[in-house]
Symmetry: C2
């Protein structure tokens, strides 16, 4: 499968929204990401449910930031978009009674869990505000 890019996409969007006055429509965001407005709504729904953004209908509507960027980490965004699946590799459990298989799976999963813990720690240590520091440049909104 293609890589799950929801985290990086939403970070991209959130930082643009932070530098943008007024609501941004799903259409505008979709052009920015090179995708479709429905995909944007679908993915942003997780951020909305988590309270990080708010959506407004009708004329002049769209998406606006609804949280303090200092208080939202990259990990928070990752979880809000519903991306619990980090690794593409894992174990199979065909014979739960097989000592060999249990030892192998324990070794592999131990390594995976440590790597996941490190990733979680690093994503959790960076806030959107920190990520936003260092540039104030907008990019073009066309694809």
């Amino acid at each position: 499968m293609r890589n799950d890019s929801r985290l990086s996409r939403m970070l991209h969007v959130l930082l643009h929204m932070a530098n943008h006055d007024g609501p941004m429509t799903s259409e505008t965001i979709a052009r920015m990401l090179g995708t479709n407005a429905v995909v944007v709504r679908r993915t942003m729904a997780g951020l909305r449910d988590a309270g990080y953004v708010r959506s407004e209908k009708g004329h002049g509507g769209g998406w606006v930031i609804a949280a303090d960027l200092e208080m939202v980490s990259l990990l928070d965004v990752h979880r809000a978009v519903g991306g619990p699946r980090i690794f593409a590799i894992g174990s199979e459990h065909s014979n739960p009674d097989c000592a060999v298989e249990k030892a192998v799976n324990a070794a592999v999963e131990d390594a995976l869990q440590h790597a996941e813990a490190l990733l979680i720690a690093r994503l959790g240590a960076v806030s959107l505000a920190e990520l936003a520091q260092g540039f104030k440049v907008h990019c073009g909104q066309a694809d």
Copy 2:
């Protein structure tokens, strides 16, 4: 997609082969893994090309270990089965000129690379021989 379980499956097989006299057929291995002989041949082909196992045709043929288990790490097996794809998450590059996107992707990929480095280090630090220590028990070969 389902998790890629080629690494854990091959480790499972290799440790059984280490405790087994004579060649093991793909059919036998397939029953052990709860899968198909063709899947076994396909996956074992990587190990064969890397020199970790050897295959023999004809009566009494099958798969045998062809390397010192002390010299083969879990990382070696991972690479031999052609599993370079570790993460299910990643970045999208729609606007290579967008400073925001570049900053976001850099942050995400930095975290991923550190997690990958840790995983690689841990897999590389364990040999098949070490993994084989601690049990000499066979599991049943039926699914």
